[in-house]
């Protein structure tokens, strides 16, 4: 088990200080990921998905109140690294990022090619021409014409920018790529194209993905595992073949029912109520207030239960 484990996150916490109080954006998250698999993290907006990605990548804003837990990547606890060790050994070497909106993720005044080649120069000590050649190769891999290397981000379409961002994430061949809503800003056709690119890359480069999205439908074709996030916590983790037909957590069920389906006669439902505020979240189960199956036990914080290799944080499975 241990030798196939790529990433294990234990009790990861990331809290922010704001004028209103402490925001518990990531509050005790556990999950793991084996080599060459993709886990999709789903949840509503504001549930802490993006903060989870930032916590794993150690991209912390100024107002961090608490940042703790363990992240074992390829066998070492990268939380133990200091900033410089983390930069040299983890960033873009072990894991890279494809950001949410690639327009803002690319420096507007530097040519795309230079931005893609940059990590290779820093981490692989490549000479500028070598790095540029690697960037060119990656552009071919993701389907961007090599001419675009000399263009500036504003001269690229949304789809091309996103592909460039993927090329950038691949240039140093990391073992883990975190994709933060990689297709949400794009039209459907482009979304499908990008998803195909990602699938092909996963196959060819044997990389692993953490895919963060609220778009369950699109992610289903790429994902091997699903983690459902709610109010800063992961409430359910399971493999796709079993999760999609039969989600365990009441929230997961609700979430799956809210997805419109092409085939079938069920109307999409919506989840009543608002997710709890991450400042002073409720004690006990955080979904209790909106849960149709709520009972007395729910006032206590549920532990994680293991149901045949699937893990769920709900008293129904006690």
């Amino acid at each position: 088990m241990a030798d196939t484990e790529l990433l294990r996150v234990e009790n990861l916490k990331l809290h922010f200080r704001t004028t209103q109080g402490i925001v518990q954006a990531v509050d005790g998250v556990d999950f793991n990921l084996t080599y060459n698999r993709a886990v999709v993290i789903v949840g509503e907006s504001g549930c802490g998905k993006t903060s989870l990605a930032k916590a794993i990548l150690r991209l912390l804003p100024r107002n961090v109140a608490e940042y703790s837990g363990h992240i074992y990547l390829d066998g070492t606890d990268i939380m133990e690294y200091d900033e410089e060790e983390f930069r040299q050994n983890v960033r873009w070497i072990k894991m890279s990022l494809v950001p949410q909106a690639a327009m803002n993720a690319l420096n507007p005044v530097i040519r795309v090619g230079d931005q893609v080649a940059e990590p290779a120069m820093i981490h692989l000590n490549a000479r500028p021409e070598e790095a540029m050649a690697m960037a060119r190769k990656m552009f071919q891999n993701v389907g961007v014409p090599a001419d675009f290397l000399v263009r500036y981000p504003f001269e690229l379409s949304g789809g091309m920018r996103q592909r460039s961002a993927i090329a950038m994430a691949l240039v140093t061949s990391p073992i883990l790529i975190i994709l933060d809503e990689p297709t949400s800003a794009l039209d459907l056709l482009t979304q499908a194209n990008i998803m195909n690119v990602l699938k092909r890359i996963k196959h060819e480069f044997e990389t692993s993905y953490i895919l963060i999205t609220h778009d369950i439908a699109t992610s289903s074709e790429l994902a091997d595992d699903v983690a459902v996030m709610y109010a800063g916590q992961i409430v359910e983790v399971g493999d796709t073949p079993r999760f999609f037909p039969n989600p365990l957590h009441p929230y997961s069920r609700k979430l799956m029912n809210s997805v419109p389906r092409l085939h079938g006669d069920t109307e999409p439902e919506f989840i009543l109520g608002q997710p709890p505020s991450l400042i002073n979240p409720p004690t006990g189960c955080r979904f209790a207030a909106r849960c149709p199956s709520r009972f007395e036990k729910c006032d206590e914080e549920p532990p994680t239960f293991n149901i045949e290799g699937r893990r769920v944080k709900c008293w129904l499975y006690a």
């Binding site: 100024r62 040299q88 070497i93 909106a101 005044v109 990590p119 820093i122 540029m132 050649a133 690229l156």
Partner: protein, 381 residues
């Protein structure tokens, strides 16, 4: 598929690099040409407006008439035949000559026509003759008087601008790094002091360093009499420049550093800065390429407005420091009611502003690839 299986095409990469350079150059070149044309038209309009304002009371006409009168006098005085004539005949002859000349220069034409003649004169720097003032070399041509003063103004404000820009950027960067520190708070607190202009600080500086402490001169360009050797002249010039340069810097540094620091902070919360960090760039690299570079266009815009305000403030500033530049020439001309010099200096100021705008436009184009050429030629897809 591993790294080695596809050979790296460094040749193509070098080609890419060359293409990048060529595209940058051609972009800047095209932009320069377009801006040059636009700004030329702008300066034509600006100078024309200046002439209209000046001539609302017929002052440009007066300049022209004065010049004709003097030219005719000179011509006739050297003419031996003229000396033989009686006073009345002399008068008549002079009047006739003057009216011929006025006709030749178009003074009999309606103002609309005349105004364009004046515009042409102003654009070709044919600024007429001064009534009272003279250049140090004795010339009464307004052009010569102004050209003699211009270097002093350029040296002073050029130095001050460069000082201010470098200091403000360095301070702003260091403040944005130490966001919330004591110095950061100090600069926030002191930023409102920049509402006072340079000349105002100048008065205080003169009071302290010249009047009370006698460390530095009250004003002027160099010691009197001017030192003979070039080195001593330069040293004397530098000594005289200390207070004015400090006055300009002092009056603007707090606000500029504060504003630019805020730009840096706003820009450093952009997603691409996080990306750069995720990519494992060193913080020095991030600061240089991902914070400073993208912020530079905004800073240049803010600096351009500052420089323009400084140019136009030159008459007051140079008066306080007795600096024999263009601004003080204007002030002296006001005192002597020397209209040709007043109009001429104003025109030259318009040129200075246009050149400043042009240079800063080019700087802007160099740091921001997104500049549009002539309104719609950029090609976002």
């Amino acid at each position: 598929m591993s790294e080695a299986s596809v050979p790296l095409d460094t040749q193509a990469a070098a080609e890419t690099k060359r293409k990048a350079t060529v595209s940058t150059l051609s972009r800047i070149l095209r932009y320069t040409v377009v801006r040059l044309i636009v700004l030329f038209l702008t300066v034509v309009v600006a100078v024309y407006l200046t002439i209209l304002i000046a001539n609302m009371g017929g002052y440009v006409d007066t300049i022209q008439r004065g010049q004709i009168q003097e030219a005719v006098n000179m011509a006739l005085a050297t003419n031996p035949a003229f000396k033989q004539l009686s006073a009345a005949e002399k008068q008549a002859q002079m009047a006739a000559q003057i009216s011929i000349q006025e006709k030749r220069l178009g003074l009999d034409k309606p103002f609309v026509v005349r105004s364009f003649l004046y515009l042409r004169n102003a654009l070709t720097l044919d600024l007429g003759r001064a009534l009272q003032m003279a250049s140090d070399s004795g010339s009464k041509q307004v052009k010569n008087i102004i050209l003699e003063r211009l270097p002093a103004t350029l040296v002073l404000f050029g130095t001050a601008d460069v000082f201010l820009f470098i200091f403000a950027i360095l301070i702003a960067l260091s403040l944005s790094r130490k966001y919330g520190s004591f110095f950061d708070k100090l600069f926030i607190t002191l930023a409102p002091t920049s509402s006072a202009p340079g000349w105002f600080y100048g008065i205080f500086l003169i009071l302290i360093f010249a009047a009370l402490l006698h460390w530095l001169p009250f004003g002027g360009l160099v010691d009197a009499p001017p030192p003979d050797s070039k080195l001593m002249y330069a040293l004397s010039l530098m000594k005289h420049m200390i207070l004015p340069v400090i006055a300009i810097t002092l009056s603007q540094i707090f606000l500029s550093a504060f504003t630019w620091r805020t730009f840096f902070l706003i820009y450093s919360s952009e997603d691409y800065v996080d990306m750069a960090k995720a990519k494992g760039l060193t913080s020095r690299n991030i600061e240089r390429s991902y914070i400073l570079r993208p912020t530079l266009p905004t800073i240049i815009t803010s600096f351009a407005l500052l420089v323009i305000a400084m140019w136009t403030g030159a008459p007051i500033f140079e008066t306080v420091f007795l600096w024999p530049g263009l601004g003080r020439a204007l002030f002296t001309a006001v005192g002597l009611y020397d209209t040709p010099v007043i109009v001429g200096s104003t025109v030259i100021f318009a040129y200075l502003l246009v050149i400043t705008v042009f240079l800063l436009d080019i700087a802007y184009a160099l740091v921001d690839p997104r500049v549009k050429i002539g309104g719609g030629e950029s090609r976002p897809q």
